[in-house]
Protein backbone atom coordinates (compact mmCIF):
# COMPACT_ATOMS: atom_id res chain seq x y z
CA UNK A 1 0.00 0.00 0.00
CA UNK A 2 2.78 2.43 0.91
CA UNK A 3 4.59 1.70 -2.35
CA UNK A 4 1.43 2.37 -4.36
CA UNK A 5 0.74 5.54 -2.40
CA UNK A 6 4.24 6.86 -3.01
CA UNK A 7 4.14 6.00 -6.68
CA UNK A 8 0.79 7.70 -7.24
CA UNK A 9 1.72 10.90 -5.44
CA UNK A 10 5.02 11.04 -7.34
CA UNK A 11 3.26 10.34 -10.61
CA UNK A 12 0.79 13.20 -10.02
CA UNK A 13 3.62 15.58 -9.23
CA UNK A 14 5.77 14.40 -12.14
CA UNK A 15 3.03 14.97 -14.68
CA UNK A 16 0.76 17.87 -15.53
CA UNK A 17 -2.34 16.38 -13.94
CA UNK A 18 -1.55 17.10 -10.32
CA UNK A 19 -0.38 20.64 -10.99
CA UNK A 20 -3.32 21.30 -13.30
CA UNK A 21 -5.72 20.23 -10.57
CA UNK A 22 -4.02 22.30 -7.88
CA UNK A 23 -3.56 25.36 -10.09
CA UNK A 24 -7.11 25.29 -11.42
CA UNK A 25 -8.64 25.15 -7.96
CA UNK A 26 -6.34 27.77 -6.50
CA UNK A 27 -6.82 30.13 -9.44
CA UNK A 28 -10.59 30.03 -9.19
CA UNK A 29 -10.45 30.30 -5.39
CA UNK A 30 -8.24 33.35 -5.79
CA UNK A 31 -10.67 34.99 -8.18
CA UNK A 32 -13.66 34.45 -5.89
CA UNK A 33 -11.63 35.43 -2.86
CA UNK A 34 -10.65 38.70 -4.48
CA UNK A 35 -14.17 39.41 -5.71
CA UNK A 36 -16.09 38.49 -2.56
CA UNK A 37 -13.75 39.37 0.23
CA UNK A 38 -11.05 41.74 -0.93
CA UNK A 39 -13.32 43.87 -3.11
CA UNK A 40 -16.80 42.98 -1.84
CA UNK A 41 -15.77 43.04 1.80
CA UNK A 42 -17.73 39.95 2.91
CA UNK A 43 -16.25 38.62 6.14
CA UNK A 44 -17.41 35.02 5.72
CA UNK A 45 -14.94 32.78 3.84
CA UNK A 46 -17.68 30.23 3.19
CA UNK A 47 -19.01 32.39 0.34
CA UNK A 48 -15.92 31.57 -1.66
CA UNK A 49 -16.00 27.92 -0.68
CA UNK A 50 -19.62 27.53 -1.73
CA UNK A 51 -18.85 29.15 -5.06
CA UNK A 52 -15.96 26.82 -5.89
CA UNK A 53 -17.89 23.57 -5.33
CA UNK A 54 -18.72 23.74 -9.05
CA UNK A 55 -15.01 23.78 -9.84
CA UNK A 56 -14.57 20.45 -8.07
CA UNK A 57 -17.19 18.94 -10.39
CA UNK A 58 -14.74 19.67 -13.22
CA UNK A 59 -11.41 19.23 -11.46
CA UNK A 60 -12.05 15.91 -9.69
CA UNK A 61 -12.66 13.92 -12.90
CA UNK A 62 -9.35 15.22 -14.28
CA UNK A 63 -7.55 13.91 -11.22
CA UNK A 64 -9.31 10.56 -10.91
CA UNK A 65 -9.87 9.51 -14.53
CA UNK A 66 -6.40 8.00 -14.95
CA UNK A 67 -6.00 6.36 -11.61
CA UNK A 68 -7.38 2.87 -12.28
CA UNK A 69 -8.47 3.03 -15.92
CA UNK A 70 -4.90 3.56 -17.08
CA UNK A 71 -3.62 0.60 -15.05
CA UNK A 72 -5.95 -1.61 -16.99
CA UNK A 73 -5.11 -0.13 -20.37
CA UNK A 74 -1.37 -0.42 -19.83
CA UNK A 75 -1.78 -3.87 -18.27
CA UNK A 76 0.15 -2.71 -15.22
CA UNK A 77 -2.71 -4.02 -13.11
CA UNK A 78 -1.12 -7.42 -13.77
CA UNK A 79 1.82 -6.36 -11.65
CA UNK A 80 -0.36 -4.97 -8.85
CA UNK A 81 -2.80 -7.86 -8.76
CA UNK A 82 -0.12 -10.55 -8.81
CA UNK A 83 2.00 -8.94 -6.10
CA UNK A 84 1.52 -9.78 -2.43
CA UNK A 85 -0.70 -6.74 -1.84
CA UNK A 86 -4.43 -7.05 -1.19
CA UNK A 87 -6.87 -5.31 -3.50
CA UNK A 88 -8.02 -3.27 -0.51
CA UNK A 89 -4.43 -2.16 -0.02
CA UNK A 90 -4.16 -1.12 -3.67
CA UNK A 91 -7.39 0.87 -3.55
CA UNK A 92 -6.50 2.45 -0.22
CA UNK A 93 -3.07 3.48 -1.50
CA UNK A 94 -4.57 5.05 -4.60
CA UNK A 95 -7.28 6.84 -2.65
CA UNK A 96 -4.88 8.22 -0.07
CA UNK A 97 -2.70 9.55 -2.90
CA UNK A 98 -5.71 11.36 -4.33
CA UNK A 99 -6.55 12.81 -0.93
CA UNK A 100 -2.95 13.94 -0.52
CA UNK A 101 -3.07 15.88 -3.77
CA UNK A 102 -6.40 17.38 -2.69
CA UNK A 103 -4.87 18.44 0.63
CA UNK A 104 -2.39 20.72 -1.11
CA UNK A 105 -4.95 23.31 -2.35
CA UNK A 106 -7.02 22.82 0.82
CA UNK A 107 -3.99 23.71 2.96
CA UNK A 108 -3.30 26.76 0.83
CA UNK A 109 -6.93 27.77 1.25
CA UNK A 110 -6.49 27.46 5.00
CA UNK A 111 -4.28 30.54 4.78
CA UNK A 112 -7.06 32.71 3.34
CA UNK A 113 -8.98 33.29 6.61
CA UNK A 114 -5.66 34.44 8.13
CA UNK A 115 -5.34 37.00 5.34
CA UNK A 116 -8.93 38.08 5.91
CA UNK A 117 -8.25 38.52 9.61
CA UNK A 118 -5.77 41.28 8.74
CA UNK A 119 -8.66 43.46 7.59
CA UNK A 120 -11.06 42.97 10.46
CA UNK A 121 -12.40 40.42 12.86
CA UNK A 122 -13.72 37.20 11.32
CA UNK A 123 -14.95 33.98 12.87
CA UNK A 124 -12.18 31.41 12.49
CA UNK A 125 -14.30 28.44 13.66
CA UNK A 126 -16.89 29.27 11.02
CA UNK A 127 -14.31 29.58 8.25
CA UNK A 128 -12.47 26.37 9.15
CA UNK A 129 -15.69 24.40 9.63
CA UNK A 130 -16.66 25.39 6.11
CA UNK A 131 -13.20 24.38 4.83
CA UNK A 132 -13.45 21.02 6.64
CA UNK A 133 -16.84 20.54 5.01
CA UNK A 134 -15.39 21.31 1.60
CA UNK A 135 -12.56 18.85 2.22
CA UNK A 136 -15.05 16.09 3.14
CA UNK A 137 -17.17 16.92 0.10
CA UNK A 138 -14.17 16.79 -2.22
CA UNK A 139 -13.02 13.53 -0.60
CA UNK A 140 -16.34 11.92 -1.39
CA UNK A 141 -16.08 13.26 -4.96
CA UNK A 142 -12.67 11.62 -5.22
CA UNK A 143 -14.08 8.32 -3.97
CA UNK A 144 -16.81 8.46 -6.62
CA UNK A 145 -14.23 9.26 -9.28
CA UNK A 146 -12.00 6.41 -8.11
CA UNK A 147 -14.87 3.96 -8.35
CA UNK A 148 -15.91 5.08 -11.82
CA UNK A 149 -12.31 4.90 -12.99
CA UNK A 150 -12.26 1.25 -11.96
CA UNK A 151 -15.23 0.43 -14.15
CA UNK A 152 -13.61 1.26 -17.48
CA UNK A 153 -10.23 1.17 -19.15
CA UNK A 154 -10.84 4.37 -21.04
CA UNK A 155 -9.79 7.56 -19.26
CA UNK A 156 -12.17 9.76 -21.22
CA UNK A 157 -15.16 7.62 -20.41
CA UNK A 158 -14.11 7.60 -16.76
CA UNK A 159 -13.84 11.41 -16.73
CA UNK A 160 -17.17 11.98 -18.47
CA UNK A 161 -18.95 9.44 -16.26
CA UNK A 162 -17.50 11.02 -13.13
CA UNK A 163 -18.53 14.49 -14.24
CA UNK A 164 -22.06 13.32 -15.06
CA UNK A 165 -22.52 11.56 -11.73
CA UNK A 166 -21.12 14.49 -9.77
CA UNK A 167 -23.24 16.93 -11.74
CA UNK A 168 -26.37 14.84 -11.13
CA UNK A 169 -25.62 14.86 -7.43
CA UNK A 170 -25.12 18.60 -7.62
CA UNK A 171 -28.52 19.27 -9.20
CA UNK A 172 -30.31 16.45 -7.34
CA UNK A 173 -32.36 18.79 -5.18
CA UNK A 174 -33.57 20.60 -8.28
CA UNK A 175 -34.56 17.28 -9.85
CA UNK A 176 -36.42 16.28 -6.69
CA UNK A 177 -38.54 19.40 -6.98
CA UNK A 178 -39.93 18.23 -10.33
CA UNK A 179 -41.90 15.57 -8.54
CA UNK A 180 -45.10 16.40 -6.71
CA UNK A 181 -44.90 15.77 -2.98
CA UNK A 182 -48.16 13.81 -2.81
CA UNK A 183 -48.30 10.26 -1.47
CA UNK A 184 -49.62 8.83 -4.75
CA UNK A 185 -46.76 10.32 -6.78
CA UNK A 186 -44.23 8.69 -4.48
CA UNK A 187 -46.13 5.44 -4.64
CA UNK A 188 -46.10 5.32 -8.43
CA UNK A 189 -42.45 6.34 -8.60
CA UNK A 190 -41.48 3.58 -6.17
CA UNK A 191 -43.66 1.05 -7.98
CA UNK A 192 -41.87 1.94 -11.23
CA UNK A 193 -38.50 1.70 -9.48
CA UNK A 194 -39.40 -1.77 -8.16
CA UNK A 195 -40.37 -2.87 -11.67
CA UNK A 196 -37.05 -1.56 -13.02
CA UNK A 197 -35.17 -3.33 -10.23
CA UNK A 198 -36.95 -6.60 -11.06
CA UNK A 199 -36.03 -6.22 -14.74
CA UNK A 200 -32.44 -5.56 -13.77
CA UNK A 201 -32.49 -8.64 -11.55
CA UNK A 202 -33.79 -10.72 -14.43
CA UNK A 203 -31.15 -9.27 -16.75
CA UNK A 204 -28.37 -10.07 -14.32
CA UNK A 205 -29.44 -13.51 -13.12
CA UNK A 206 -31.54 -14.73 -16.07
CA UNK A 207 -33.83 -16.28 -13.52
CA UNK A 208 -37.49 -15.53 -14.35
CA UNK A 209 -39.05 -17.11 -11.24
CA UNK A 210 -36.92 -15.22 -8.72
CA UNK A 211 -37.29 -11.92 -10.59
CA UNK A 212 -41.06 -12.32 -10.84
CA UNK A 213 -41.33 -13.29 -7.18
CA UNK A 214 -39.21 -10.31 -6.17
CA UNK A 215 -41.29 -8.02 -8.35
CA UNK A 216 -44.63 -9.23 -6.92
CA UNK A 217 -43.34 -9.13 -3.36
CA UNK A 218 -42.03 -5.59 -3.69
CA UNK A 219 -45.14 -4.30 -5.45
CA UNK A 220 -47.39 -6.05 -2.92
CA UNK A 221 -45.53 -4.55 0.03
CA UNK A 222 -45.62 -1.07 -1.55
CA UNK A 223 -49.35 -1.32 -2.28
CA UNK A 224 -50.18 -2.63 1.19
CA UNK A 225 -48.20 0.16 2.80
CA UNK A 226 -49.89 2.70 0.55
CA UNK A 227 -53.36 1.68 1.70
CA UNK A 228 -52.48 1.14 5.36
CA UNK A 229 -50.24 4.17 6.01
CA UNK A 230 -50.31 6.59 3.06
CA UNK A 231 -48.66 9.28 5.18
CA UNK A 232 -45.32 7.42 4.86
CA UNK A 233 -45.26 8.24 1.16
CA UNK A 234 -45.66 11.98 1.48
CA UNK A 235 -42.54 13.66 0.13
CA UNK A 236 -40.77 10.30 -0.01
CA UNK A 237 -39.29 10.89 -3.48
CA UNK A 238 -37.69 14.08 -2.20
CA UNK A 239 -36.30 12.24 0.80
CA UNK A 240 -34.85 9.44 -1.28
CA UNK A 241 -33.37 11.70 -3.94
CA UNK A 242 -32.09 13.95 -1.19
CA UNK A 243 -29.74 11.15 -0.09
CA UNK A 244 -27.86 11.60 -3.37
CA UNK A 245 -27.65 15.38 -3.08
CA UNK A 246 -24.04 15.21 -1.91
CA UNK A 247 -23.37 18.92 -2.23
CA UNK A 248 -26.44 19.81 -0.17
CA UNK A 249 -24.87 18.54 3.06
CA UNK A 250 -22.03 20.97 2.56
CA UNK A 251 -24.31 24.01 3.03
CA UNK A 252 -24.64 23.03 6.70
CA UNK A 253 -20.87 23.22 7.08
CA UNK A 254 -20.79 26.42 5.03
CA UNK A 255 -23.13 28.08 7.46
CA UNK A 256 -20.68 27.29 10.21
CA UNK A 257 -22.37 24.26 11.78
CA UNK A 258 -20.07 21.30 12.32
CA UNK A 259 -22.70 18.75 11.37
CA UNK A 260 -21.72 15.36 12.77
CA UNK A 261 -24.37 13.58 10.71
CA UNK A 262 -22.86 15.25 7.65
CA UNK A 263 -19.43 13.91 8.57
CA UNK A 264 -20.88 10.42 8.91
CA UNK A 265 -22.75 10.89 5.64
CA UNK A 266 -19.58 11.79 3.74
CA UNK A 267 -17.55 9.04 5.39
CA UNK A 268 -20.24 6.53 4.42
CA UNK A 269 -20.10 7.67 0.80
CA UNK A 270 -16.33 7.28 0.82
CA UNK A 271 -16.46 3.83 2.40
CA UNK A 272 -19.21 2.64 0.04
CA UNK A 273 -17.36 3.89 -3.04
CA UNK A 274 -14.06 2.35 -1.95
CA UNK A 275 -15.86 -0.92 -1.21
CA UNK A 276 -17.45 -0.84 -4.67
CA UNK A 277 -14.05 -0.15 -6.21
CA UNK A 278 -12.55 -3.20 -4.52
CA UNK A 279 -15.51 -5.29 -5.66
CA UNK A 280 -15.25 -3.99 -9.20
CA UNK A 281 -11.59 -5.00 -9.36
CA UNK A 282 -12.27 -8.39 -7.77
CA UNK A 283 -15.14 -9.02 -10.12
CA UNK A 284 -12.97 -8.60 -13.19
CA UNK A 285 -10.87 -11.50 -11.96
CA UNK A 286 -13.86 -13.78 -12.32
CA UNK A 287 -15.29 -12.60 -15.60
Amino acid sequence: MAAIYRREVKSFLNSMTGYLFIAFILAVTGIYFTAYHLRGGYPSFSYTLEAIVVIFLLAVPVLTMRILAEERRQKTDQLLLTSPVSVTGIVAGKYLALVTILLIPILVMAAYPLILAQFGSISFPEAYTALAGLFLLACSFLAIGLYLSSTTENQVIAAVLTFLVLFLCYIMNGIAEFFPETASASFFALAAAAAAAALLLYYMTAHPAVSAAGFLLAEGALTALFFLRPSVYEGLIQKILGVFAITERFSEFASGIFDLSGVIYYLSIIVICLFLTVQSIQKRRWS
Binding site: A3, R7, N14, D77, L80, W286
Partner: protein, 342 residues
Protein backbone atom coordinates in the same frame (compact mmCIF):
# COMPACT_ATOMS: atom_id res chain seq x y z
CA UNK B 1 6.16 -26.56 -5.75
CA UNK B 2 3.28 -25.92 -8.11
CA UNK B 3 0.18 -28.02 -8.29
CA UNK B 4 -2.51 -27.34 -10.82
CA UNK B 5 -5.62 -29.44 -10.63
CA UNK B 6 -8.46 -29.67 -13.12
CA UNK B 7 -8.11 -26.07 -14.17
CA UNK B 8 -10.89 -24.82 -16.42
CA UNK B 9 -11.46 -21.28 -17.63
CA UNK B 10 -14.44 -20.31 -19.67
CA UNK B 11 -14.98 -16.93 -21.30
CA UNK B 12 -18.65 -16.95 -22.17
CA UNK B 13 -18.91 -19.86 -24.58
CA UNK B 14 -15.24 -19.99 -25.33
CA UNK B 15 -13.29 -22.59 -23.41
CA UNK B 16 -9.82 -21.10 -22.95
CA UNK B 17 -8.41 -23.74 -20.61
CA UNK B 18 -9.94 -27.18 -20.48
CA UNK B 19 -9.37 -29.41 -17.46
CA UNK B 20 -5.63 -28.84 -17.18
CA UNK B 21 -3.72 -30.71 -14.46
CA UNK B 22 -0.01 -30.86 -13.84
CA UNK B 23 2.53 -30.39 -11.10
CA UNK B 24 5.98 -28.92 -11.17
CA UNK B 25 8.75 -29.89 -8.78
CA UNK B 26 11.40 -27.72 -7.21
CA UNK B 27 14.40 -26.57 -9.22
CA UNK B 28 13.05 -27.48 -12.59
CA UNK B 29 12.49 -25.51 -15.75
CA UNK B 30 9.16 -26.20 -17.33
CA UNK B 31 8.19 -25.04 -20.77
CA UNK B 32 4.67 -24.31 -21.95
CA UNK B 33 4.51 -24.76 -25.65
CA UNK B 34 1.54 -24.10 -27.83
CA UNK B 35 0.36 -22.09 -30.79
CA UNK B 36 -1.09 -18.61 -30.29
CA UNK B 37 -4.37 -18.72 -28.45
CA UNK B 38 -3.76 -22.16 -26.97
CA UNK B 39 -4.38 -20.92 -23.44
CA UNK B 40 -0.79 -20.47 -22.26
CA UNK B 41 -1.22 -16.91 -21.06
CA UNK B 42 -4.60 -17.65 -19.52
CA UNK B 43 -3.09 -20.54 -17.58
CA UNK B 44 -0.25 -18.35 -16.36
CA UNK B 45 -2.64 -15.58 -15.39
CA UNK B 46 -4.61 -18.06 -13.33
CA UNK B 47 -1.48 -19.53 -11.73
CA UNK B 48 -0.40 -16.08 -10.59
CA UNK B 49 -3.85 -15.17 -9.32
CA UNK B 50 -4.50 -12.41 -11.85
CA UNK B 51 -7.62 -14.14 -13.08
CA UNK B 52 -9.68 -16.74 -11.30
CA UNK B 53 -10.42 -20.12 -12.84
CA UNK B 54 -13.97 -21.20 -13.62
CA UNK B 55 -13.17 -24.39 -11.75
CA UNK B 56 -10.12 -26.19 -10.45
CA UNK B 57 -7.38 -24.98 -8.18
CA UNK B 58 -3.78 -23.84 -8.13
CA UNK B 59 -1.39 -24.32 -5.24
CA UNK B 60 1.94 -22.54 -5.10
CA UNK B 61 4.31 -23.81 -2.43
CA UNK B 62 1.33 -25.37 -0.66
CA UNK B 63 -0.71 -22.14 -0.60
CA UNK B 64 -3.92 -21.96 -2.59
CA UNK B 65 -3.69 -18.93 -4.86
CA UNK B 66 -7.29 -17.89 -4.15
CA UNK B 67 -7.56 -18.74 -0.45
CA UNK B 68 -4.18 -17.45 0.68
CA UNK B 69 -3.35 -15.07 -2.15
CA UNK B 70 -0.73 -13.02 -0.38
CA UNK B 71 1.31 -15.96 0.87
CA UNK B 72 1.09 -17.68 -2.50
CA UNK B 73 1.96 -14.58 -4.52
CA UNK B 74 4.99 -13.93 -2.34
CA UNK B 75 6.49 -17.07 -3.84
CA UNK B 76 5.96 -15.92 -7.42
CA UNK B 77 7.78 -13.60 -9.76
CA UNK B 78 5.73 -13.02 -12.88
CA UNK B 79 6.52 -11.51 -16.23
CA UNK B 80 3.26 -11.26 -18.15
CA UNK B 81 3.03 -11.29 -21.92
CA UNK B 82 3.05 -7.50 -22.03
CA UNK B 83 5.56 -6.32 -19.41
CA UNK B 84 3.59 -4.33 -16.81
CA UNK B 85 5.68 -1.18 -16.94
CA UNK B 86 4.77 2.35 -15.94
CA UNK B 87 5.67 4.65 -18.79
CA UNK B 88 6.27 7.63 -16.53
CA UNK B 89 8.92 6.01 -14.34
CA UNK B 90 12.60 5.42 -14.86
CA UNK B 91 13.89 1.86 -14.83
CA UNK B 92 15.38 2.28 -11.38
CA UNK B 93 12.28 3.95 -9.92
CA UNK B 94 10.18 1.17 -11.34
CA UNK B 95 12.31 -1.54 -9.77
CA UNK B 96 12.26 0.26 -6.41
CA UNK B 97 8.48 0.50 -6.68
CA UNK B 98 8.19 -3.19 -7.57
CA UNK B 99 10.44 -4.10 -4.64
CA UNK B 100 8.11 -2.13 -2.36
CA UNK B 101 5.10 -3.95 -3.79
CA UNK B 102 6.77 -7.27 -3.15
CA UNK B 103 7.53 -6.19 0.41
CA UNK B 104 11.26 -6.68 0.04
CA UNK B 105 13.04 -4.96 2.93
CA UNK B 106 14.68 -1.74 1.76
CA UNK B 107 18.18 -2.88 2.68
CA UNK B 108 17.92 -6.05 0.61
CA UNK B 109 16.41 -4.11 -2.26
CA UNK B 110 19.28 -1.67 -2.32
CA UNK B 111 21.78 -4.41 -3.09
CA UNK B 112 19.43 -6.55 -5.13
CA UNK B 113 18.31 -3.94 -7.66
CA UNK B 114 21.79 -3.06 -9.03
CA UNK B 115 22.60 -6.75 -9.11
CA UNK B 116 19.49 -7.58 -11.15
CA UNK B 117 20.04 -4.64 -13.47
CA UNK B 118 23.51 -6.04 -14.08
CA UNK B 119 22.28 -9.58 -14.84
CA UNK B 120 19.57 -8.37 -17.18
CA UNK B 121 21.88 -5.82 -18.78
CA UNK B 122 19.90 -2.67 -18.07
CA UNK B 123 22.36 -0.88 -15.79
CA UNK B 124 23.09 1.70 -18.48
CA UNK B 125 19.37 2.39 -18.85
CA UNK B 126 18.56 2.79 -15.18
CA UNK B 127 17.86 6.51 -15.34
CA UNK B 128 15.91 6.45 -18.59
CA UNK B 129 12.16 6.78 -18.66
CA UNK B 130 10.58 3.46 -19.54
CA UNK B 131 8.53 5.30 -22.16
CA UNK B 132 11.75 5.89 -24.13
CA UNK B 133 13.07 2.33 -24.00
CA UNK B 134 13.08 -0.07 -26.90
CA UNK B 135 11.09 -3.28 -26.81
CA UNK B 136 14.07 -5.42 -25.82
CA UNK B 137 14.99 -3.21 -22.88
CA UNK B 138 11.37 -3.11 -21.73
CA UNK B 139 11.29 -6.87 -21.84
CA UNK B 140 14.45 -7.01 -19.74
CA UNK B 141 13.11 -4.48 -17.26
CA UNK B 142 10.04 -6.68 -16.91
CA UNK B 143 12.29 -9.67 -16.41
CA UNK B 144 14.27 -7.86 -13.71
CA UNK B 145 10.97 -7.10 -12.00
CA UNK B 146 9.98 -10.77 -12.09
CA UNK B 147 13.31 -11.79 -10.55
CA UNK B 148 13.12 -9.22 -7.73
CA UNK B 149 13.41 -10.92 -4.38
CA UNK B 150 14.47 -14.14 -6.12
CA UNK B 151 11.12 -15.83 -5.50
CA UNK B 152 11.07 -19.66 -5.50
CA UNK B 153 8.72 -19.72 -8.49
CA UNK B 154 9.38 -17.64 -11.57
CA UNK B 155 6.75 -17.52 -14.28
CA UNK B 156 7.71 -15.96 -17.58
CA UNK B 157 5.23 -15.50 -20.39
CA UNK B 158 7.11 -15.41 -23.68
CA UNK B 159 10.27 -13.92 -22.17
CA UNK B 160 12.25 -13.96 -25.42
CA UNK B 161 9.87 -11.85 -27.48
CA UNK B 162 11.49 -8.73 -28.85
CA UNK B 163 15.04 -9.68 -27.95
CA UNK B 164 17.81 -9.85 -30.49
CA UNK B 165 19.69 -13.15 -30.96
CA UNK B 166 22.53 -12.16 -28.65
CA UNK B 167 20.10 -11.17 -25.91
CA UNK B 168 18.18 -14.39 -26.42
CA UNK B 169 21.36 -16.36 -25.70
CA UNK B 170 22.05 -14.21 -22.63
CA UNK B 171 18.54 -14.57 -21.28
CA UNK B 172 18.57 -18.27 -22.04
CA UNK B 173 21.74 -18.68 -19.98
CA UNK B 174 20.20 -16.57 -17.25
CA UNK B 175 17.10 -18.76 -17.14
CA UNK B 176 19.22 -21.89 -17.14
CA UNK B 177 21.13 -20.49 -14.17
CA UNK B 178 17.87 -19.68 -12.39
CA UNK B 179 16.64 -23.22 -12.90
CA UNK B 180 19.29 -24.47 -10.49
CA UNK B 181 17.70 -22.80 -7.47
CA UNK B 182 14.25 -21.80 -8.62
CA UNK B 183 11.27 -23.37 -10.28
CA UNK B 184 10.88 -21.66 -13.62
CA UNK B 185 7.93 -21.88 -15.96
CA UNK B 186 8.17 -20.23 -19.29
CA UNK B 187 5.95 -20.20 -22.29
CA UNK B 188 6.64 -19.80 -25.93
CA UNK B 189 5.25 -20.69 -29.28
CA UNK B 190 8.75 -21.23 -30.59
CA UNK B 191 9.97 -24.72 -29.99
CA UNK B 192 13.71 -24.20 -30.24
CA UNK B 193 13.61 -21.68 -27.38
CA UNK B 194 11.84 -24.11 -25.13
CA UNK B 195 13.84 -27.22 -26.00
CA UNK B 196 17.08 -25.31 -25.42
CA UNK B 197 16.39 -24.50 -21.78
CA UNK B 198 13.63 -26.66 -20.40
CA UNK B 199 13.89 -29.88 -18.44
CA UNK B 200 10.32 -30.65 -19.24
CA UNK B 201 7.99 -29.60 -22.04
CA UNK B 202 4.24 -29.33 -21.82
CA UNK B 203 2.47 -28.93 -25.11
CA UNK B 204 -0.87 -27.20 -24.87
CA UNK B 205 -3.42 -27.00 -27.62
CA UNK B 206 -6.93 -25.59 -27.41
CA UNK B 207 -6.61 -25.31 -23.65
CA UNK B 208 -5.68 -28.95 -23.21
CA UNK B 209 -2.44 -30.60 -22.23
CA UNK B 210 -1.66 -32.79 -25.21
CA UNK B 211 1.81 -33.95 -24.22
CA UNK B 212 4.09 -33.57 -21.25
CA UNK B 213 7.57 -35.03 -21.15
CA UNK B 214 11.26 -34.28 -21.36
CA UNK B 215 12.56 -33.00 -24.71
CA UNK B 216 14.38 -36.33 -25.15
CA UNK B 217 11.34 -38.46 -24.47
CA UNK B 218 8.79 -36.58 -26.50
CA UNK B 219 9.74 -38.23 -29.83
CA UNK B 220 9.27 -41.67 -28.25
CA UNK B 221 5.67 -40.81 -27.47
CA UNK B 222 4.98 -40.68 -31.14
CA UNK B 223 4.88 -44.17 -32.53
CA UNK B 224 4.49 -44.93 -36.20
CA UNK B 225 5.41 -41.55 -37.38
CA UNK B 226 8.80 -41.93 -39.00
CA UNK B 227 8.84 -40.80 -42.58
CA UNK B 228 10.94 -42.07 -45.42
CA UNK B 229 11.45 -39.92 -48.45
CA UNK B 230 12.18 -41.77 -51.63
CA UNK B 231 12.87 -40.74 -55.19
CA UNK B 232 12.84 -43.58 -57.73
CA UNK B 233 13.36 -43.46 -61.48
CA UNK B 234 10.62 -45.72 -62.74
CA UNK B 235 6.96 -45.70 -63.79
CA UNK B 236 4.28 -44.86 -61.27
CA UNK B 237 2.70 -48.27 -61.67
CA UNK B 238 5.92 -50.09 -60.88
CA UNK B 239 6.62 -47.99 -57.82
CA UNK B 240 3.15 -48.60 -56.50
CA UNK B 241 3.53 -52.32 -56.83
CA UNK B 242 6.88 -52.18 -54.99
CA UNK B 243 5.44 -50.17 -52.16
CA UNK B 244 2.23 -52.17 -51.92
CA UNK B 245 4.33 -55.29 -51.44
CA UNK B 246 5.70 -53.88 -48.15
CA UNK B 247 3.36 -54.62 -45.26
CA UNK B 248 5.16 -52.38 -42.82
CA UNK B 249 4.16 -49.23 -44.71
CA UNK B 250 1.33 -47.38 -43.01
CA UNK B 251 0.64 -44.97 -45.81
CA UNK B 252 2.41 -43.30 -48.68
CA UNK B 253 1.90 -40.51 -51.15
CA UNK B 254 3.30 -40.32 -54.67
CA UNK B 255 4.18 -37.25 -56.61
CA UNK B 256 5.87 -36.57 -59.92
CA UNK B 257 9.45 -35.72 -59.08
CA UNK B 258 11.33 -32.66 -60.21
CA UNK B 259 13.78 -35.09 -61.82
CA UNK B 260 12.73 -36.43 -65.17
CA UNK B 261 10.92 -39.78 -65.30
CA UNK B 262 11.08 -40.14 -61.55
CA UNK B 263 8.56 -40.27 -58.74
CA UNK B 264 8.81 -38.98 -55.21
CA UNK B 265 7.27 -41.05 -52.47
CA UNK B 266 6.73 -40.02 -48.88
CA UNK B 267 6.28 -43.13 -46.80
CA UNK B 268 5.13 -43.30 -43.22
CA UNK B 269 6.32 -46.20 -41.14
CA UNK B 270 6.38 -47.22 -37.53
CA UNK B 271 9.38 -46.01 -35.55
CA UNK B 272 10.66 -49.51 -34.85
CA UNK B 273 10.87 -50.72 -38.43
CA UNK B 274 13.58 -49.76 -40.87
CA UNK B 275 12.43 -50.30 -44.44
CA UNK B 276 15.48 -49.00 -46.22
CA UNK B 277 17.02 -52.35 -47.03
CA UNK B 278 13.76 -53.96 -48.05
CA UNK B 279 12.97 -51.06 -50.35
CA UNK B 280 16.42 -51.15 -51.86
CA UNK B 281 16.09 -54.79 -52.80
CA UNK B 282 12.47 -54.35 -53.84
CA UNK B 283 13.42 -51.64 -56.28
CA UNK B 284 16.50 -53.50 -57.50
CA UNK B 285 14.39 -56.51 -58.45
CA UNK B 286 12.18 -54.32 -60.64
CA UNK B 287 15.11 -52.46 -62.16
CA UNK B 288 14.01 -49.22 -60.59
CA UNK B 289 16.87 -46.89 -59.68
CA UNK B 290 16.70 -45.25 -56.30
CA UNK B 291 17.94 -41.69 -56.73
CA UNK B 292 17.43 -40.58 -53.19
CA UNK B 293 16.32 -42.16 -49.97
CA UNK B 294 16.16 -40.35 -46.68
CA UNK B 295 14.87 -41.47 -43.33
CA UNK B 296 13.67 -38.59 -41.21
CA UNK B 297 12.98 -39.27 -37.60
CA UNK B 298 10.32 -37.10 -36.10
CA UNK B 299 11.74 -33.83 -34.87
CA UNK B 300 10.28 -31.92 -31.97
CA UNK B 301 9.03 -29.47 -34.57
CA UNK B 302 6.98 -32.20 -36.24
CA UNK B 303 5.64 -33.45 -32.93
CA UNK B 304 4.59 -29.96 -32.01
CA UNK B 305 2.83 -29.42 -35.31
CA UNK B 306 1.15 -32.78 -35.20
CA UNK B 307 -0.02 -32.45 -31.62
CA UNK B 308 -1.29 -28.93 -31.90
CA UNK B 309 -2.98 -29.33 -35.24
CA UNK B 310 -4.54 -32.45 -33.92
CA UNK B 311 -4.93 -35.82 -35.48
CA UNK B 312 -8.72 -36.03 -35.73
CA UNK B 313 -8.90 -39.73 -34.83
CA UNK B 314 -7.05 -39.56 -31.54
CA UNK B 315 -8.45 -36.15 -30.55
CA UNK B 316 -12.00 -37.36 -30.80
CA UNK B 317 -11.50 -40.09 -28.28
CA UNK B 318 -9.91 -37.56 -25.92
CA UNK B 319 -12.81 -35.22 -26.40
CA UNK B 320 -15.48 -37.73 -25.55
CA UNK B 321 -13.65 -38.68 -22.37
CA UNK B 322 -13.43 -35.09 -21.28
CA UNK B 323 -17.03 -34.42 -22.16
CA UNK B 324 -18.05 -37.12 -19.75
CA UNK B 325 -16.11 -35.44 -16.97
CA UNK B 326 -17.54 -32.06 -17.78
CA UNK B 327 -21.12 -33.15 -17.41
CA UNK B 328 -20.30 -34.79 -14.10
CA UNK B 329 -18.77 -31.59 -12.85
CA UNK B 330 -21.76 -29.53 -13.95
CA UNK B 331 -23.39 -29.91 -10.55
CA UNK B 332 -20.91 -28.19 -8.26
CA UNK B 333 -19.03 -25.45 -10.09
CA UNK B 334 -20.28 -22.82 -12.41
CA UNK B 335 -22.29 -25.46 -14.15
CA UNK B 336 -25.12 -24.88 -11.69
CA UNK B 337 -25.72 -21.47 -13.22
CA UNK B 338 -25.94 -22.96 -16.64
CA UNK B 339 -28.36 -25.65 -15.66
CA UNK B 340 -30.61 -23.09 -14.03
CA UNK B 341 -30.65 -21.04 -17.18
CA UNK B 342 -31.71 -23.93 -19.35
Amino acid sequence: MIEVEHLTKRYGNHLAVDDLSFSVGEGQIYGFLGPNGAGKSTTMNIMTGYTAPTSGEVKIGGYNILDEPEAARKCIGYLPEIPPLYQDMTVKEYLIFAAGLKKIPRKNAQSMIPELMETTGITDMQNRLIRNLSKGYRQRTGLAQALLGYPPVIILDEPMVGLDPRQIIEIRDLIRGLGKKHTVILSSHILSEISAVCDHIMIISHGKLVASDTPENLPLLMSGTNTLQLTVRTKEQTLRSILDAQDAILSYTLEQSAESDAWDAVIRTRTQTDLREALFFGCAQKNAAILNMQLSRMSLEDIFLELTEGDPGSEETNDSENDGEKTEKGGDGNGSNLSQRS
